[in-house]
Subunit: 424 residues, 2 copies
């Protein structure tokens, strides 16, 4: 298992922030325990973080995480233990779970993620079968994976408002399909536990709702440990009625961009940060890093060429972008072998179970890294990493991992609050 | 981390048993989930197992486990996650825990165990201080440990029926002192959560009560997976009013021995086992492998020499043995580098978090290994070990680890039932 060599140019407030988080650990864990009692957390979650040296913040929270195959395999036991806890809480009577993946049959990396989730669930003592929404799969079909494993996709059967595959009686359905396309009829009005709930899908979910909930959580946390909430929270605004192709709604995006750039500039002055502020404009719903751009001046929004407009106009599966999130950009100052890196942290139930660095060799420190050409380096999670050593020099890796786990759990809490607020 | 090289002469029923356990995993885990809802399990627990090739059974269940320092340090994260779950369930409001160790200040291995427990608790986000019952420790005293760490023992203060050390306000007390000497007055009638409860201590606990509870659990489990309960359960009897020095009560021990040898002999015939049956006679309360002997014929009980009688007459801290357990001996057919080995499995809350092999180079396959001269080899818990691979050849290591974790959890359940039945 290669241990990522992480070189980070850290200076200024981040050391204070990390130390503050590390040194108030019992206070934080106590507060989190009370929150886990208050909220039902999603079954699983991954959070993209950015660490700018002066700021550590979540920039995306995924409730249908792919990439379990990128986690350090040595720590799959943590995932299994967390799944056991989740199942005890959510569906203790479940013997069997139907896993519904995305409709990607050619993306073998994605299918390896599905194989990893299946393996984790099986080790937690559940029968797992994989049901696909793809109409072309009419009988059980085996897909061989690059690592020698295989998975079998089976057509889903709906009967008495319950989903199954042939000769299987699942008590719960686990979605790894983010419903970007809307909620298919076959998933509607089921008498089965569905994890995560349908309204966590991108058919209804809005990033702006998530970050609104995150405002609440971040403010409370910042009061708890007595820090400026901005250090863990990016500014954002949202715009609706957008049509990039037809140049509709651009004013909102340009104005929000300039407004946010203005407040970032003030904060940068306050913290003596020398960098140029930037914002990220991205689709308010959806994933896969499509429909996303870096902007340093509102005027740029009016000057997009046709290619850029087209890129912004659609996300996964060709869905049109009509709502966007304008979010404070957070520089990543982390790099691995000269390539820009950002941490992605995975949680099952409320436990941090692993993570990796998303690394991109041809992207800048102010760009989205979730793009073609990225690769992954598992977080090593050595004892020293998961378990910070308080005798060690401050600012070293161990404290960073703990801080990452805390900020990721804040985003998880925000997701719980968001789902509670958006349930119909 | 050296991976133990385990050579095991396995033949006959054990493969069937291990396969049976592995192949009914979802059934077993589902049943265990229902049990975790029914019972409150002890905070932590270690279980000594014996694997005879034809039988896999717990022979001792420790509710104040030492030896956390012998666990594979790479998997301390599993301990931390399990402690987080335990704390959420038992004392979610706890910020601070007072850890009370055994009264051993010269046994640095034991103190390293205490340092390991402290570290795990701290990583779970608790403030931990160590209060000692030793009257000679009148101020905070630092003990340096061989691995470079140190621990500070502090005198316990009792005020308003709460225990503390100076400038500390613990909401819970974690005992790592098995109360062999009785429950000291300072621990009585406290208004604080005490983990595990006082009646789990050897002042009141009886192994025979534990194995009576284990009978219930083992029978139910055996019905669940349709096996002979004997394959996971050693016969036993208990005798009271014993005084080995004065040769009192020997008849009960001799008769029980012969009776148990008789029923083992029948079972050995049934399973075509060629070995000689034996029993282990040991103190019904207490630990540390004192007061323990191997017997192959009831007559031996009358023929003990003075040295043997003295050895049987006392356990830890000089307490007299008046009650004994006569327990079916289970051969260990496991060995590491030609030395006899037995697995010890550790649990926190209801999670298996690690274990090691207790290895003794100068003991036989029918002897107690918990004796001077033993050493420890951490279970490697590679992904393949914790997580059996169902495509691999049956009977290999992975299945063994899963089976060990299941039988250890049966003993844990028995401890939960025992504590429920013995509460006053």
């Amino acid at each position: 298992m290669p241990v990522p060599h992480l070189s980070t140019a850290l200076h200024g407030p981040i050391l204070d922030l990390e130390n503050r988080i590390y040194n108030t650990k019992p206070l934080i864990e106590h507060w989190l325990r009370s929150k886990w009692r208050e909220y039902s957390v999603p079954f699983y979650c991954s959070v993209d973080l950015r660490n700018s040296g002066f700021k550590l913040a979540p920039v995306d929270t995924n409730l249908f995480p792919g990439g379990f195959n990128n986690l350090n395999p040595e720590f799959i036991a943590l995932c299994v233990q967390a799944v056991m806890t989740a199942v005890e809480k959510i569906c203790p009577d479940a013997h069997s779970v139907l896993l519904i993946p995305e409709n990607h049959t050619r993306n073998t990396f994605y299918l390896q993620n599905i194989a990893s989730i299946r393996t984790i669930m099986q080790h937690a003592g559940l029968y797992v079968r994989i049901g696909t929404l793809l109409p072309e799969i009419k009988t059980a079909t085996i897909f061989n994976l690059p690592d020698g494993q295989s998975i079998t996709l089976e057509p889903i059967i709906r009967k008495n408002n319950k989903l199954s595959v042939e000769n299987f009686d699942p008590c719960a359905v686990l979605l790894n399909n983010d419903l970007s396309n809307g909620v298919p009829e076959i998933l509607q009005n089921l008498d089965q536990t569905i994890l995560p709930p349908l309204h966590a899908g991108w058919a209804t979910r809005r990033k702006s709702e998530h970050f609104k909930a995150y405002n609440t959580i971040a403010d409370e946390f910042a009061r708890l440990i007595d820090i400026d909430p901005w250090l863990i929270n990016p500014y954002f605004a949202s715009c609706g009625k957008i049509n990039f192709r037809e140049k509709k709604g651009e004013d909102c995006v340009a104005n929000s961009t300039n407004k946010i750039l203005g407040v970032i500039r003030e904060k940068y002055r306050e913290y003596s940060v020398k960098e140029d502020p930037f914002v990220i404009v991205k689709a308010d719903s959806g994933t896969y890093g499509m429909g996303i751009m870096t902007v340093k001046d509102g005027a740029e929004v009016y000057q997009l060429n046709r290619k850029q407009r087209n890129k912004m106009a659609v996300v996964k599966e060709g869905m049109s972008v009509t709502n966007v999130l304008v979010q404070e950009g957070v520089y990543t100052f982390e790099n691995i072998n000269q390539a820009v890196a950002e941490p992605v942290i995975y949680m099952i139930d409320h436990f941090v179970v692993g993570g990796f660095y998303r690394v991109h060799t041809s992207r800048g420190i102010d760009e989205n890294l979730n793009a073609p050409g990225m690769h992954f380096v598992p977080l090593s999670f050595e004892p020293d990493c998961l378990l910070p050593n308080n005798t060690k020099q401050q600012g070293l890796m161990p404290n960073r991992y703990y801080a990452y786990g805390v900020v990721a759990r804040l985003a998880l809490l925000a997701a719980a609050l968001e789902l509670q607020q958006t349930i119909h």
